[in-house]
């Protein structure tokens, strides 16, 4: 295991730790918008995780998966925010 693989694997471990910390904050959840913010940050971390995994495994398909996951995360945040802005389920 050379230095390049060491760097990539420690990046993967660090991203998993960051995701767990963000998930703790999502469960605590001070307000609704805090939870949406944590969802945004976790989706960004998942994209970075998949991209790092793709570079580590030399796989082009995983990079395409990362790009499409980015599109799905953006749509999730935008549509949830518009739903809340229109009044949520109460209206």
């Amino acid at each position: 295991m050379d230095a390049r693989e060491w760097l990539l694997v420690s990046t993967l471990v660090f991203l998993v730790v960051a995701m767990v910390a963000s998930f703790v904050r999502l469960v605590q959840g001070k307000t609704l918008w805090d939870r949406i913010l944590m969802l945004n940050i976790i989706s960004t971390k998942v994209i970075l995780f998949v991209a790092t995994l793709a570079v580590w495994m030399d796989s082009l398909i995983l990079l395409d998966i990362a790009i499409s996951y980015g599109i799905i995360g953006f749509l999730t945040i935008t549509l949830l925010s518009k739903f809340i802005m229109a009044g949520g389920r109460e209206k």
């Binding site: 230095a3 760097l7 953006f74 935008t78």
Partner: protein
């Protein structure tokens, strides 16, 4: 694989760590969303550029560049939409935690 990739990836770790510290320590909703979103965008850019320096194939570099452009466009937009929905619902700008709203 050069020293450049090491330096950029370790800078990205520092930025992501600062973003987590900001999320856990700030008291105002708007300050939290602003600092978390901007620091997170910078960390994403730096980590993807470090991966570009660490990858071996040119096709990897092109896809990572596409991902950088996409994240640079959509990250600020999604945090802006989030903050706008909080403001239009009626959270006051100087609300501290535990003021009884929401």
């Amino acid at each position: 694989m050069t020293v450049v990739a090491y330096v950029i990836v370790i800078l990205a770790w520092l930025f992501i760590l600062f973003g987590l510290v900001a999320i856990f320590s700030l008291k105002n909703l708007y300050t939290r969303i602003l600092s978390a979103a901007t620091i997170d965008t910078v960390g994403t850019m730096l980590l993807l550029m470090g991966l570009m320096a660490a990858s071996k194939d040119i096709a990897d570099v092109i896809r990572l560049l596409l991902l950088v452009v996409f994240m640079l466009i959509t990250g600020p937009i999604s945090s802006h939409v989030n903050i706008r929905s909080a403001y239009l619902v009626g959270i006051p700008l100087d609300m501290k935690d535990g003021d009884g709203h929401a």
